[in-house]
């Protein structure tokens, strides 16, 4: 069974903390994505990566960075967490071919207090 696994389901962090969200996939997919999901706004793309050490900004990269040192792992980093980064974060992966569907992790609900 294919899997995308996010390291935490729920996180509570303090303002100003550095936060790491980890995502691992076991399907040897080239592409990996980080989205945040907010009510009424749907999924907004933060960053994506199409290869190891390669990354591209999505629609809302401000306040975030990413790391992809290995093909199976894609990390989202909040350099200095703020309350407006309280959200549901979803990781996804796909093969490089555009016609293939994405597989999603279960999500991480982050609360910044």
């Amino acid at each position: 069974d294919v899997k995308v696994t996010q390291s935490s389901r729920y996180l509570v962090k303090r303002t100003g903390e550095k936060v790491f969200l980890e995502c691992v996939q076991d399907m040897d997919h080239e592409n990996m994505f980080w989205y945040r999901q907010d009510p009424g706004l749907g999924l907004r793309l933060i960053y994506f990566s199409y290869d190891v050490k390669m990354k591209e900004k999505g629609d809302i990269p401000e306040g975030y960075s990413v790391s992809r040192e290995k093909k199976e792992r894609f990390s989202l980093i909040l350099e200095s967490a703020s309350t407006n980064q309280t959200s549901m974060y979803l990781c996804a992966s796909t093969r490089v071919l555009g016609a293939t569907e994405a597989f999603f992790g279960q999500g991480t609900r982050l609360t910044v207090v």
């Binding site: 999924l43 994506f48 996804a92 796909t94 555009g98 016609a99 994405a102």
Partner: protein, 114 residues
């Protein structure tokens, strides 16, 4: 850049009635179109996709979607709704020339009442 619009935040139907969840898209080039479903506190699950060919696509759990190029739409349909279909539905688009990008609509909450 490509984009997706889901014009309805909420769709309510009675069990046994047909349902439609609407999606329109904007891309430069040929699209790949997808529908995903999200149950509470879960990630998204793939339902169906349009790549090319037949405009009517069939997917999981009895859902189907119709691709209409002239109207740039990809509406999700089901002939007879179930209470268990109640969930959040997302339309998504990728473009043929830019395989690495994937954009989603804002989502439509479907509620099926018994």
């Amino acid at each position: 850049a490509q984009s997706v619009a889901q014009p309805e935040d909420q769709v309510n139907v009675a069990e046994g009635n047909p349902l439609t969840v609407k999606c329109t898209y904007s891309v430069s080039g040929n699209p790949y179109l997808f529908w995903y479903v999200q149950y509470p506190n879960r990630g998204l699950q793939f339902l169906l996709k349009y790549i090319t060919g037949d405009n009517l696509v069939k997917g999981s759990y009895g859902f189907e979607a119709e691709f209409n190029k002239s109207q740039t739409s990809f509406h999700l349909k089901k002939p007879s709704a179930l209470v268990s279909d109640s969930a959040l539905y997302f339309c998504a688009v990728r473009v043929v020339y830019n395989n690495n990008d994937m954009r989603f609509g804002a989502g439509t909450r479907l509620t099926v009442k018994p």
